[in-house]
Amino acid sequence: MKQYVTSWERMAKEEGKLEGKLEGQVEALQATISEILKLRFGKVPRKLSASVNGIADPEQLRALQRQAVICASINTFTEQLSLAE
């Protein structure tokens, strides 16, 4: 069975949605990580947030989010981060 699958509109929609989704995930995860650290340890060094915000891989960010929840101190998190980089 043939399908009427294509059109500029449809391709634009599909491509745009995928790109947007990735962007949204990355942004939300970056913000969440900084938020967790702030809630748990008070101040977060600017350099640290900057390196978190420099990561664009959702998988890596998810791992870091887990670290942010369980790490004992900002320093242990920073170590994990430099390992990941």
């Binding site: 949605k17 990355v26 995860l29 969440t32 938020e35 989010q65």
Partner: protein
Amino acid sequence: MPREQADYDSPWKEILEQFFEPCLRFFFPPLHAQIDWSQEVVFLDKELQQISFDAETGRHTVDKLVQVRLLGGAELWLLIHIEVQGQKEAAFTTRMYVYNYRLYDRYQQHVVSLAILTDENRHWRPDHYERELFGCRVRLDFPIIKLLDYEERTGELEQDENPFALVVLAHLRTLQTLGDDKLPVRKDFKKQLMRLTWQRGYRPKQTGQLLRFLDWVMRLSENLEQELQQELAVEEQQLMNQYVTSWERMAEEKGKLAGQVEALRQALQETLQLRFPQISPDMLETINNITQIDRLQRLHREAVISSQLEAFTEQLSLAE
């Protein structure tokens, strides 16, 4: 029914709102002439939703409830119904009546109901609702537009400066080319209509909206679409790419929201599992129903700072 039909309602919904004034000018000139177009046109989506019953029946419909001002200053409500599917006559006229009645009942408005019939059956022209019992009669007459009637006037439509003439033309050309064997003809129509749209010299925004409509409605097979793209002149391809980029951006906004929600749900579930391993799968599951970003953020903050799972659970039920 052609399988493309499911795709028709969204483009019609969009184009009707974007080209409301030209639509009335095209189909209902006497009514159009009575409206004060310097006043704001308001789409009463919420009011319409209040009286809708399509959610229950699962039908795809295109209705727009619109508030305009007449030249004398009086307020007028219009209900424009675009009949995309071509349903049973009794069901259709009943629906027209019920919506008109419900709007009167709920908002005390004498609503002008109009119907645009887009189906392929020349003889299907329901234009009134009537029932009678022992001398007690109820009747609603409503103006209808049959798009097929414009078929003999396609030459005229091609010359008409009204953008809605192109909308009608796109629909007629689509109806004329249903079936896989006719798609090559549709490709040529599509190219012609794209060019007509460019030649009109509308504002870029309007041009983009029209191109989006006809691209949306005049679906082709993948091969033919590629052929069409190659047949366009270089300048035309560049123009088209600009529009595609803007559509991509529109879709990106939607996708971004979905991505944020998904990531926040996952983050919340991860945090909860790490901090409270005893948490029940059911509770984790309920998080998948939350769609508001700010609520997810609030709950996540709670999940990080709560010392006991109970404190979080309380927040979860409170916020609901």
